[in-house]
Symmetry: C2
Subunit: 406 residues, 2 copies
C-alpha cells in the first residue's frame, strides 16, 4: 500500500469526517425519531414550480445556453433579481456586487481561501456553524472567540493572532436564527462586531442562510445594511453577505450567493473561474424562474409550517424538560440549542438515547472551535411533525431526567 499521508499537503490533516454527516445515516432507521438533521422538509419543496421551470427552459429559446458553459459571476437575471431583494433589506448594490456560488457552503470555502494563510486567525462565535469551521480548516487558521455583545479589546485579538503566527483576517458570524443555537445577534451586537472589524481592519463575513425564516419579532438590519448606511456605498464596506436558496427553495440545485464590495467580488470570480468555472447554468436559470414567480409565497408557506413546529417543540420542552436544563427560544430558523447541567456530556447522552429513548440530535461539542461545549446539543424541528416532536422530546426528556437523577 502507498503511504498517501506523506504525499498529501499539510492542510489535509485538518480534513476530518463530520459527526453530523455520520449521524445523517441514522435518519433512515424507522424506529428513531431524528431531530439531528437540520435540512429543509422536502414536503415543502416547490416541486411543481421547479417542474414548470425546467420544462420552460427546454421549450424556450435559451435551451442551448442552459446546457452550455457560462460566466463565472453567475446568471445575470438571477443576479438582477437579487439586487432587488437586497434593496428590500436596505442593502443597496449593483450587478457587480452580486456573485453566484454553488450553495453558500461554497461561499464560505472561497472566503476562507481568499483570506486565510496558514496560522492567520478567524474570529468565530463559540459555538458556530460546523460547516464554516470545516470550510475554513482547509486553510489552516487559528480561531479566536468572537463575542458580539462582549467586551474583548481589539488589542487582545491582535496579540492572540500574533502569538498564533498570523493576523486576524475576518469575523464570521451567523446573524439570524443561527445554526446551531437558533439565536439572533441584536442590533447592538451587530454594531459592535462592525466596530471591532473597523478597529482590526478585517472583513466581516455575515452568514444570512436563515435570514428569510423569521417567524416573529422585528427584523434587524443586516450588518452590511448598517455599514452601507454608515459609509454611503457598498464598495466602501468590509462586510461580505452570504445567502442561500437551500432553506427557501431547494438545496439539491446548489445555488447560493455572495453580496459584497466589487473588489472582493472580482477576486472571488477569478477564484471560481479557476476552481469550477461556474455554477450549473440550468439550475441558476431554474432558481431564477421560481424565485421571480413566487419567492414570497414559497417563503410564507414554509414559515407557516416551521413556526408551528417551533412552537410545538418549545411547548414540549417546557412541558417535559427537567430542572437544570435550559434552551434557546429562536424567533426563526430550524434549531433549538439545549444546555445540560455542567458535567453532563451530549455525545454520551446521544449514544444512550439511540439505544433507549430512540431519539437523535447533534451533540454540541463539534460546533466549538476550542472543543468545549460538551454539555450542549442541537435539535431541529424542521422535518418533524407535531406527534414526533411531542413523543421525541418526551422520551428524550425522560432520559435526561433519569441521567440527572442517577
Amino acid at each position: 500500500m502507498l503511504n498517501w499521508d506523506t504525499m498529501f499537503a499539510s492542510r489535509s490533516s485538518r480534513m476530518r469526517a463530520s459527526e453530523i454527516r455520520e449521524l445523517l445515516k441514522l435518519l433512515d432507521r424507522p424506529d428513531i425519531i431524528s431531530f439531528a438533521g437540520g435540512i429543509p422538509d422536502p414536503a415543502l419543496f416547490p416541486d411543481q414550480e421547479f417542474k414548470q421551470a425546467y420544462a420552460d427552459i427546454f421549450d424556450g429559446a435559451a435551451v442551448n445556453s442552459a446546457l452550455q458553459y457560462s460566466v463565472s459571476e453567475g446568471y445575470k437575471p438571477l443576479r438582477e433579481w437579487l439586487v432587488g431583494q437586497m434593496a428590500a433589506l436596505d442593502i443597496r448594490c449593483e450587478l457587480d456586487n452580486v456573485f453566484i456560488v454553488s450553495g453558500s457552503q461554497q461561499g464560505l470555502d472561497y472566503l476562507g481561501k481568499l483570506f486565510l494563510s496558514p496560522d492567520d486567525t478567524a474570529l468565530v462565535t463559540w459555538p458556530t456553524y460546523l460547516g464554516a469551521l470545516q470550510a475554513f480548516n482547509a486553510y489552516e487558521p487559528a480561531y479566536d472567540q468572537l463575542t458580539p455583545n462582549g467586551n474583548r479589546t481589539p488589542e487582545s485579538y491582535r496579540a492572540a493572532a500574533s502569538a498564533a503566527g498570523g493576523k486576524v483576517k475576518f469575523a464570521y458570524l451567523s446573524t439570524d436564527f443561527s445554526n446551531p443555537t437558533g439565536e439572533t445577534v441584536d442590533l447592538d451586537g451587530r454594531k459592535k462586531v462592525l466596530a471591532l472589524a473597523e478597529d482590526l481592519d478585517i472583513a466581516v463575513i455575515e452568514d444570512a442562510a436563515y435570514q428569510s425564516l423569521r417567524y416573529d419579532g422585528d427584523p434587524i438590519p443586516p450588518i452590511l445594511a448598517l455599514e452601507i448606511a454608515e459609509k454611503g456605498h457598498i464598495n466602501d464596506t468590509r462586510t461580505i453577505y452570504c445567502g442561500s436558496f437551500s432553506k427557501t427553495l431547494a438545496p439539491g440545485l446548489r445555488v447560493g450567493f455572495i453580496v459584497a464590495n466589487a473588489p472582493v467580488i472580482r477576486k472571488l470570480v477569478l477564484m471560481k473561474q479557476a476552481a469550477d468555472l461556474h455554477s450549473s447554468t440550468i439550475n441558476q436559470m431554474a432558481i431564477s424562474d421560481v424565485a421571480e414567480r413566487g419567492f414570497d409565497a414559497q417563503v410564507a408557506k414554509i414559515k407557516a409550517a416551521y413556526s408551528r413546529r417551533r412552537d410545538c417543540m418549545l411547548a414540549a420542552l417546557e412541558k417535559y424538560m427537567p430542572e437544570g436544563t435550559s434552551w434557546t427560544k429562536p424567533e426563526g430558523g430550524m434549531f433549538i440549542w439545549i444546555t445540560l447541567p455542567e458535567g453532563m456530556d451530549g455525545a454520551k447522552l446521544l449514544a444512550k438515547s439511540l439505544e433507549t429513548a430512540k431519539v437523535a440530535f447533534v451533540p454540541g461539542k463539534a460546533f466549538f472551535a476550542d472543543g468545549s461545549g460538551a454539555n450542549t446539543f442541537r435539535v431541529s424541528f424542521s422535518c418533524a411533525n407535531e406527534q414526533m416532536i411531542e413523543d421525541g422530546i418526551g422520551r428524550l426528556s425522560a432520559l435526561i431526567s433519569a441521567e440527572i437523577g442517577s
Copy 2:
C-alpha cells in the same frame, strides 16, 4: 477605499484574469470568425434527452431526493454506471473508487488542494491545460517540465523541487487529444510517466477530458489501466483519473468524475463535504439517466460532426498556411496547435488578426508554466462549420504570410 490586498491570503496574488475568458467575450462579434473557444457545439447537445430526463425526475418517486441535500461522494446510480464504463477501459474499480465532482475543473482544484503545500512542485507538460495551471496556482506551487518521452532523471526533478522549497507532489498530464495541442501521449510515454512517478513516489493525475472523442487511430490504454494491470488492484495504484461529461453530454450541468484508489477518494469526499457539500443532486440524476439511455449514440453523433470539422481544418491548413509554420494532426478532441516561425508572437498576431483578418484564436504563451511559447497558438474546430473553417483559415494564413514576408 479599503486596501483589500493587505487582507487577502498570499495565494490570492496568483489568481489572475484568464486570457481565454477575456477572449470569449469576442465570440459575440458577428464579423469575427472564432476558433478561440474550445467549447462543445451546442447544436449537438442531447437536449431532447435532457428534457425527458428532467421531466421524468419530476414525475417520478425520487423528486424530493432530486431537490434535497445528498451525499458528498455523488449519486450512486451514476457512480455505478461509471464503474461499468471504466471496466470497458480496463480500469477495474468498485463504487468506492468513483467520486462525482462539479465538472472535472473542480477535480483539478481539489487535487491541487489535496497535494500541494506552498512551494511544492507540480510536473506539467510545456504547454499544458491552462485551467490546470489556474486551479493549481491557488495552492502556490512551483512547476517543472514533464516530458513523457524525454529522459530527465528522477534525481534532477528532486533537486529542482528541493531548490524550489518543497517536494514533487504529482505529474499532471492530459493523455488524449490534449487541450491545447491536440496531441496524444503514446504507450511508451505513458509507461515512462508511470515509471518516473514510481521513482519519485508521487501521484499521476491523468486528465481524460477528451478521451471519448477519438476519430481515428487505435485507442491507447489509460495510465490507470496500465497501472492496475501491473499492480493487480486499483487500491494499490497512484494514478488518479479525471473524467468529464462536459465534452460528451453537456457542460452546463457541471458534472465530472474522479476514479482512483479508495484512500484518495475518501479524502476527496471529506474535502468536498467541507467545500460545497455535494454536486447538484438533480443534475447528477439527469446525467445518469441520459448516459444510461444513450451515451454511445450521443458520442457517435458528436464524433461524426467533429471529425469532419477536424478534417476540414487540417485540409485548409495544408492548403493555405505558408512555409515556416507547422501544426499538430490530432486523432481526436477539439484542438489543433500551430507553431509560427521563431521570433513571431501569437499575441501580437491575434491583435492584428482581430483588426484585419477578423479571425480569433488563443495565443499559446498562457499554456506554458514558464512563460515560453510566444510563437504558438491554439485553434479549435469544434464550433466552426466548413465554410467558416475555409474562410477563417484562409484569411488567417494570408495574414501570417504577410507577417512572415514583412
